[in-house]
């Protein structure tokens, strides 16, 4: 087996299109996944993320385009000849085999037997903490244990890339959060490239080195968690990741900075402007709720009135009505008793910190 080259991407999807009959599941998708990276395909259901994963695994054939694994085109290979393994959404553990037999299956198929195979299975059992349950059958395990068996089974043959299809979606919340850390640890310990599919943005943000946000068969944006949260390239990404205020603005370009005029005439300053915006244009302003600071009315020029205050435990969430019937959502952490608290009906000043507002083209 030739070792992966240093700079060669682990998986490269080049202009891949996938059609089911007349339905276009993926249209001209290109993604490059780096070696040893925790890469997440994130999007709502039906966005094509699972289809993309199945194309890498070989369960579906591409309609057009190339799938490269460490530089080698694998798009026409059957799944049993691709050095990638999959963790299935509902685990797909073999019900007639014990955990040990399940984990050993891939090794046996690759012709690894005897002491060698046994050592490797034991190492896997150790890795996912299932030594005590090795002789059980899948139906005698809890959801979390099945999940870990499925992981061990997929890692055992030593794949170059591990594909995970919403592996946490069938677990309850507490277990899901614990498994996130576990997955991240496994990825770092094994050094395998992980390609993880999820519709859960929190999961994606917590684990991924990089994320590709998908919708309607198109990759909308690829970047680190911080990139896609702080610098979304379009409305879809901005709305899908986290909560967002999107306000219509008119742009006035002056030397140095740019002024954005809200519908009510008030001016918001932004630092950076996306390329391709003329001196005057219509655009949208994106402001994350937690970047908005609310203060007593005398503290600023932009005023508003609280029309809804919701206590969320860690946060307070306010719905603020600005002049001209503009509504914005603001969040503040309940971290400091000295922080001003407001209730419905209070007049407030709305402050935007540096870099809080970001322009999106229409």
């Amino acid at each position: 087996m030739s070792g992966p080259q240093e700079n060669c991407p682990a998986v490269e999807i080049r202009n891949v299109t996938k059609q089911f009959g007349s339905f276009i599941a993926l249209s001209d998708v290109s993604v490059s996944i780096r070696d040893k990276e925790f890469f997440t395909l994130l999007g709502p259901s039906g966005c094509g993320k699972t289809t993309l994963l199945r194309l890498i695994a070989g369960f579906e054939d591409v309609t057009g385009g190339e799938v490269l694994l460490y530089g080698e085109d694998i798009a026409r290979l059957p799944p049993n000849r691709r050095p990638v393994n999959t963790v299935f959404q509902h685990y797909a553990l073999f019900p007639h085999m014990t955990v040990r037999e399940n984990i050993g299956f891939g090794l046996k198929m690759r012709g690894i037997t005897g002491q060698d195979a046994e050592n490797r299975v034991n190492r896997m059992l150790d890795l996912v903490h299932l030594e005590a349950l090795a002789e059980r059958r899948p139906n005698q395990l809890s959801g979390g244990q099945q999940q870990r068996s499925a992981l061990a089974r997929a890692i055992a043959p030593g794949p170059k890339v591990l594909l995970l299809d919403e592996p946490l979606s069938a677990l309850d919340l507490k277990l899901r959060q614990a498994m996130r850390l576990e997955l991240k640890r496994l990825q770092q310990e094994t050094g395998i490239t992980f390609v993880f599919v999820t519709h859960d943005q929190e999961e994606a943000l917590a684990m991924s080195d990089r994320i590709a946000v998908m919708s309607e068969g198109i990759v909308q944006q690829t970047g680190t968690a911080r990139d896609i949260y702080d610098r979304p390239v379009n409305r879809f990404v901005a709305n899908f990741i986290g909560e967002t205020n999107l306000l219509d603005v008119e742009i006035d370009r002056r030397d140095g900075s740019v002024d954005c005029r809200l519908a009510n005439g008030e001016i918001v300053e932004v630092e950076s402007v996306p390329a391709g915006i003329g001196s005057t244009a219509r655009a949208q302003l994106l402001i994350r709720p937690e970047r908005i600071e609310l203060l007593p009315p005398q503290a600023g020029s932009m005023r508003g009135r609280i029309i809804e205050a919701v206590y969320l435990g860690t946060d307070m969430q306010y719905l603020v009505l600005l002049r001209g019937d503009i509504r914005i959502t603001a969040r503040s952490q309940n971290s400091d008793a000295a922080k001003p608290q407001f209730s419905t009906g209070d007049e407030v000043a709305v402050l935007l910190g540096d870099g809080a507002a970001r322009l999106l083209l229409h």
Partner: protein
């Protein structure tokens, strides 16, 4: 949680007498139509025969003796092992086994095919499988006889096409009996296997392929073991009635291809009438089948986790 379980148990305890009443009709039917007739047969097999049918209420082992030993025409020669009936039993078992194997070879792909269609067309295919049952088995077996006789449509067609020069003798052969059994009981193989394959999670096959298994390995290491309960149910449902069948052997096999079913039938009808002997044959058959099933169930009990 604990309170919930307590309540549930309390409820079921309250309804215990009610449950007995609900089960009662099934027990009555099973008792009346299954247990009592079997006990009657068991009793008859130990009685003395009345010529031209019926029994004399006098204990006798003659029926079992007749099955196993040959004592000459007048019953006073030294007893030697009687092979006639054992041979009939062995032939029946072989015929039934061949028919079961045929049903499995054709039935499994059929069931797999139906189970992998779209849900809408599945019901159409299942309906088609059951269509033959709208016609009486006797009539279907007679038509089979008509089809495969020496100057029947099958031979005529083959002759007309020039495939053969002289008609193939199909009627009154083992082949005819196996064909008849296969045709009669095929749906009993298809339906349980269909039910098992329909529940089969095809992501298991994907998982196996993902773990480097080729098609044949997936079939033999994953698909077949997982749907095995359906296959076994189908085999039992075909093998057991085939073993006792008398229509197909009678009509298609002729006198040379006697099977257990015909042997037993003959003891209760017509001039050969010997009720205790017929009852004894039925008991021996029943014991063999039950014994085989019990041994099978014992061996596979540990695997019955799911």
């Amino acid at each position: 949680m604990a309170a919930g379980i307590g309540t549930a148990q309390g409820t079921s305890r309250t309804f215990q007498p009610m449950r007995l009443w609900l089960i009662a009709p099934s027990w009555l039917i099973i008792g009346f139509f299954l247990l009592i007739p079997v006990l009657v047969m068991l009793l008859f097999s130990f009685l003395t025969k009345e010529f031209r049918g019926g029994v004399i209420w006098e204990f006798s082992l003659a029926a079992y003796d007749q099955f196993l030993f040959d004592r000459g025409l007048f019953g006073d020669d030294p007893a030697t092992l009687e092979w006639t009936y054992i041979r009939i039993f062995v032939r029946s078992i072989v015929q039934a086994a061949v028919a079961t194997l045929l049903c499995l070879l054709i039935g499994f792909p059929t069931a797999f095919f139906i189970a992998t269609r779209s849900p809408d067309s599945r019901s159409v295919w299942l309906f088609l499988v059951t269509v033959p049952y709208w016609v009486n088995l006797l009539i279907r077996t007679m038509s089979m006889k008509f089809l495969i006789r020496d100057n029947g449509p099958v031979n005529e067609l083959l002759l007309a096409l020039g495939v053969i020069d002289t008609p193939i003798a199909m009627i009154n052969t083992d082949f005819a009996v196996q064909l008849g059994l296969f045709y009669s009981y095929l749906p009993f193989m298809v339906l349980p296997i269909y039910a098992a394959v329909e529940r089969y999670d095809f992501s298991l096959s994907e998982a196996a392929a993902d773990l480097y298994a080729d098609r044949w390995t997936i079939l033999f290491r994953v698909l077949l073991p997982v749907v095995r309960p359906g296959i076994i149910a189908g085999c039992i449902l075909v093998f057991v009635p085939s073993l006792g069948a008398f229509l197909a052997p009678d009509l298609l096999g002729g006198a040379k291809n006697f099977m257990i079913g015909s042997l037993i039938e003959e003891q209760f009808k017509g001039n050969a009438g010997n009720w205790p002997f017929g009852a004894a044959c039925a008991m021996i058959l029943l014991t063999m089948v039950l014994g085989a099933l019990i041994i099978y169930a014992r061996q596979h009990r540990p695997a019955a986790g799911n």
